[in-house]
Symmetry: C2
Subunit: 441 residues, 2 copies
């Protein structure tokens, strides 16, 4: 079974497409219309066009290789059969009412599994929000607003569509896009073990954020993580809310400990919250790999710097001594006024702040550079010095920003563009540095 038709289609059919706003088949068309290739709204009772695309009666009259199935659960087996006859190789089934909802739903799910096997169709779902891959203009989802999500370098692979959607909008709210959001849902024949290698093969994906509730295909999932060359961060959910998981997701109840150990052994970073999941992924996607776990912390304000040092020491991250050469340069820059040992504190923003970061970043004892500075309009952020540093030194730089939002946008984007990961609270910056230390060679 290939996932090419599913994730990299040449043409898309929207089965059950509708002109009526608010209907699933309309919401799916609103996203699918962004596709840079043929899109076919399929509905035998459809008249005229929707979003500029003429309705067609049947998927059989199209050359679609990806079908978005916007019909209720009971109608789905026949639609999958139609897709198979029409040569469709990938299908997204949005509807709920399958294995997560009792015996009748289980039978329906078994029927589409059999049909998909017969015709070799890769099915995402059922019971999923679908997937989006902005850099391929693929927006196979009914979620309103997904057509505006931009390309980024973190891909989200979520067992729960709701978590995938939440994660995608969270990246979007913070000014990032996504390399892809893949909502697995009930995983009738497309599970973590299938999707992870496909995402790993996508050169636009710099890191993978996995949300896992539980899968029968545990070993295949772990093996795929182990074999992935893209950094993987994983959040195992449902460890305490067992009854909720069992009654509502169609996922098996599996212990968090089993996953924690297996994920760690396979080289994944494990996260404890959605924000950690995304932040760890962003840090790993944006920064080069650290060659060691030693953090050089430069702060323009003592108080937040102390909070970050606390956080990192709690996680056994090391602040190495700086070389004699670096300390000499720092003494010249800081005139002995401030704390020139690691962590380095300049007391407040100053014109020389970028040079201080540069000095620490070039120190051979420092593997990861972590910076904290409250923005001041008269100084701005030392973006040019940072660009100079990252052009010459292959080390992760994490910049923790603070200040009014309108001040942060532009400089922050420039830093991200030059491979510097930026975060907006002391604990998020410190967490990112701890992940880079954990994953260092």
């Amino acid at each position: 079974m290939s996932l090419t038709d599913l994730f990299d289609p040449d043409s898309i059919a929207v089965i059950g497409a509708s002109k009526t706003p608010g209907k699933l088949g309309n919401d799916a068309m609103a996203n699918a219309k962004e596709f840079d290739g043929p899109v076919y709204p399929v509905n035998p009772s459809g008249e005229g066009s929707v979003y500029g695309y003429e309705f067609v009666d049947s998927v059989a009259t199209t050359d679609a290789d990806l079908a978005l199935c916007c019909v209720p659960a009971p109608a789905t087996p026949d639609v999958i059969e139609d897709c198979g006859e029409a040569g469709v190789g990938g299908a997204v089934v949005f509807a709920g009412g399958f294995a997560e909802s009792g015996a009748q739903g289980e039978q329906l799910q078994e029927r589409i599994r059999e049909t998909a096997a017969e015709y070799d169709i890769a099915i995402l779902g059922p019971n999923t929000a679908g997937h989006i891959i902005p850099h391929r203009s693929v927006f196979s989802s009914f979620v309103p607003g997904f057509d505006e999500i931009e390309t980024g370098d973190v891909a989200v692979v979520a067992q729960s569509g709701g978590v995938g959607v939440t994660a995608t909008f969270q990246l979007d709210r913070e000014g990032y896009g996504t390399a892809g959001m893949y909502g697995l849902g009930n995983r009738v024949n497309t599970d973590f073990g299938d999707v992870i290698p496909a995402v790993d093969d996508d050169p636009e994906t710099g890191a993978m954020a996995l949300h896992i509730e539980g899968t029968e295909e545990f070993d295949a999932a772990v093996q795929a993580i182990d074999e992935a060359s893209t950094p993987v961060v994983a959040l195992k959910s449902g460890n305490r809310a067992e009854e909720f998981v069992q009654s509502h997701t169609g996922a098996p109840v599996q212990s968090g400990e089993r996953y924690e150990q297996a994920l760690t052994d396979a080289g994944a970073v494990t996260a404890d919250s959605l924000t950690e999941l995304l932040d760890a992924s962003r840090a790993l996607a944006t920064c080069p790999e650290a060659s060691g776990p030693n953090v050089g912390l430069v702060t323009a304000q003592a108080g937040p710097g102390i909070m970050m040092a606390d956080y990192l020491k709690d996680r056994n991250v090391n602040f190495p001594e700086l070389s004699a050469e670096t300390r000499e340069r720092l003494d010249d820059l800081l005139l002995g006024f401030t704390y020139d040992q690691n962590p380095i504190d300049t007391g407040r923003p100053m014109p020389e702040f970028g040079e201080v970061v540069d000095a620490v970043g070039r120190d051979e004892n420092v593997d990861i550079v972590l910076v904290y500075e409250i923005f001041e309009h008269s100084l701005g952020y030392p973006v040019e010095e940072l660009e100079g540093l990252t052009n010459e030194v292959d080390k992760p730089v994490v910049f923790t920003v603070a200040g009014p939002s309108e001040a942060l946008a532009e400089d922050r984007q420039r830093m991200e563009d030059s491979g510097i990961a930026t975060f907006d609270t002391p604990e998020r910056g410190a967490y990112a540095a701890s992940v880079l230390a954990e994953t260092s060679r």
Copy 2:
């Protein structure tokens, strides 16, 4: 010693005021100019006016009761003496170079302590970013942009000015203002034990967020927290970065355990990060006190709901059974399709979602209502139903929002205005509910 002149002045002198952009005395004037009362830029070499205010030669020629001292450390003792002679009762000393920087600085700090005692002047600092109290139009700080901070209901009392500034801008970036930011700095004669009662007396302050590095006046601080009628949340910093604290803040190194126990005994919530500090404070300021620890969780998406249930169960928060009456109402609303036990999952947003929340909110077994919903344009958020609920039922409601940022702004503000605390990630919403459970009667 009264803090009235310091925190509720009738007129303000800015000593060392300057016309030169980027100078401390100019930045301080840029904020002080917002004051709804006389402002005197004091500088014997000043000519003409700054921000529309005429320079005066000496504080002696003014009726100022609050002085912002924008002069370097060595000049400060004389300035404090001048202030005393002029009848000033409160002074903010921004400069560093006092007790945090060695023996000479300690001597300077001792001199201003003696002068302040002689003239009965309450001094904020030295080595502080100052304070702002937007609802009194008091912006006694050099931090650029502080004049645009709006009024909110959380007051931040921070030992580190840098942390206070970071916290203030973080509230601002998320659409909130502050009831006050008080940066204590070196606490020459105004410490937590003095500031907490003053903030407690401010009716605009709904909750107090404390950042503590360590104080010699430990007992007075704990007593003030114990006696405050305003909810208090505290973050003790510097527990691991001892050397950094000692070398750079003028704060004594004190164990986190000692604080943790004393703060909890005094009735404070203890937070582990800046975001937790602000989120706990926002929840306590916005919501009524919970009459018990039982959470009713309503989610429109299973996956994020499971993450929140995990989080709360890890913190031993209880999800009570719903009453027969509530379950009957839910069965009518949900037609048996979804998970009608607590946590309640509607599967996706639906027109009846507000009624579902209403049913759970009115259940006598539920003390705290926690909601999760991804925004959909065609439905919006059920703001009217929520307003109806909070008007009639005196229980905390926490609404966790997700979706594109432009969609969230308006509904979110309306919810906040009707006493519903809103948070934008699953873990932040769940954390807020856990704090409300912890502080319930």
